[in-house]
């Protein structure tokens, strides 16, 4: 009888372990949804123009620190906007990284959208303007359920990649 109880206790333990290791199932994305992921890092333009130093100014600098131009370190924030037709999917102003605000702005954002055809628009302003975009891209995409569409900004071609 005691052995039976012992077996029963272990069986119950196994049941709990086995059950909670797979159940209840977790639905990360509903069956008719897809995902649009926006991810890239981008260094915005500097807040001011570089200025060429005069010869006198250069002479005043220590020899190892002489440089032809003086550029401000701080960069503009990066303004991002992503739309599907007229619906705003994501809009954000991202600050540059670093304590001097001179680093790249990081973006990683996921948006759940209904599967189907979307007229996607993505725009980025990195020059401090409050309206308009320095870079933009539009594409009609068909998103199947469960599709993860990734939008990146390619620094080499200076354009958005949607794939």
């Amino acid at each position: 009888m005691r052995l039976l109880a012992e077996i029963l206790a272990w069986a119950l333990f196994a049941l709990v372990v086995g059950a909670l290791s797979v159940w209840p199932r977790y639905e990360m994305l509903e069956r008719d949804d897809a995902l649009v992921t926006l991810t890239f890092t981008h260094a915005a333009q500097r807040v001011g123009e570089c200025r060429n130093l005069t010869q006198e100014e250069m002479n005043e600098l220590p020899p190892n620190m002489r440089r032809p131009s003086d550029c401000p370190r701080e960069r503009h924030p990066v303004r991002i906007e992503m739309r599907s037709a007229d619906r705003l999917l994501y809009g954000e102003i991202l600050l540059p990284s670093g304590i001097w605000s001179d680093g790249k702005a990081n973006i990683y954002h996921r948006v759940v959208v209904p599967a189907g055809v979307h007229d996607l628009f993505i725009g980025m302003n990195d020059s401090g303007g409050l309206s308009g975009f320095d870079f933009e891209a539009s594409r009609r995409v068909e998103l199947h359920p469960g599709r993860n569409l990734v939008i990146r900004f390619d620094e080499q071609s200076q354009s958005f990649l949607i794939r």
Binding site: S21, K104, N148
Partner: protein, 511 residues
Amino acid sequence: MIEHLHRLGRSAFELLRRPLARAFDSDQNPLNQLGALTIFFSWIVLVSGVWLLIFFRTSVSAAFESVEYLTHEQWYLGGVMRSLHRYASDALIITILLHVIKEFVFDRYRLNRWFNWVTGIPLVWMIFALGITGYWLVWDELAQYVAISTAELLDALPIFTNSMAGNFMSDELLSNRFFTLMAFIHLIGLPIFLVFGIWLHVFRLNGPRINPPRRLMAGALLCMLLLSAIYPAISHEKANLAMAPQVLRFDWFYLHVYPLVQLWSPGSVWVLLIGISTVLTLAPWAPPARKTTVAVVDLDNCNGCKRCADDCPFGAIEMVPRTDGTNYTHQPSVDEGLCISCGICVGACPTATPFRSRSALVPGIDLPNQTAADIRDDITRNAEAPSDAPRVMVFGCRDDRQTKILRSAGANVVTVRCMAHLQPSYLDFVLSRNHADGVMLLGCENGNCNYRFGPEWTEARVTRQRDPRLRKRTDTARIAMGWLAPWADIANPTKRLDAFRDALSKMDAKT
């Protein structure tokens, strides 16, 4: 507030203990071996993990195939090992959780036990990190979900300049080296820290229980093997970064936090996790338990026999060179930070004998708040005059509920700090001086003693297997020992006492 929580937790434990007590003897009861059982499950994880490692390939493209090979082609061994690896990892989360709750509700985390409590918290973090990186390595849809969600969590910390989650946006961008790094963390890095962490967790204990009893190990292994055979662990579809995982067979033991990353935000999840860890870390001092007076050494009565140091469950007594100029080489030194005033050292001291009459009863080591002389006084005060009915003197552990119930039922009870606080010569004293016809020792069962070794040392001393041994002239038939969980709720508290009285009556009738 804390005491209320403790009481509530004890009642919940009783609900779990009752059915388990029907299935297991006290020393085999999984509830009494939670720490050791956790280590045993870790052994299963380690051994099965070594087998998996032999066949596992640490690259993005080959990892999934190598796990599939183990699961399906080599199902008879690799598949079983994979399932064992998975289920033993899950099982140890249950034992850890119960272990933490038990130590909390029985107030075994304050005073000198803060160190074991606090060092246990990083262990929990490491175990979770091991589980999470383990899921990552399979590189199926669940691994993809875990990898991206973990990266999102880490991105919320001001550590990385670039987004880590951005690495998981396409199969082409994913680096094999990154994958190898994860494999290194899971297979070598974390296990090394874990072993060191376990050592740190228990090194202040005297004789820590590392292995559970063999029968319990066999039961646990068989349980895991059967589960692996009946319901083998399998993978999801291979990870595909162009697709988002939709419905996942979720391991709630390890991944329960991840849905919160989506529901709230990574930052909020960190606040929750760090908040819980901080509260747990500070728990031993919120509020601190009342410090009791520690054991005191009396060199005039100490011959440096070392038994107190051997029996101290918390390693609070160290033998140091003698300072009083006598011929004895060593003397005990009590570390006030480690002593918990259980009195087990007094029970181990050969000089703590109540038969002393020429000099005052001052043993080599004693507890100031309940001295050996106090116990002798309690015995003589509680002694009953001979009568027709057998007289039983009950010695009860202070923390034992049976003792309280019996006392309130009118039994003749003498309370000590822990049952092993009572040196065996006291039993001889009670019987030979005719203070009672029988002695009943009631304490907490093995594995549930607040002072770890109370029942073990007492049984060994009374059965004359450990010093100081019970004198041979003492009739052990007149000594009854009863060990129960300290929170056990006994429906009829006097039943056991009555049964012992009946046994004594029969014994007296024969003589």
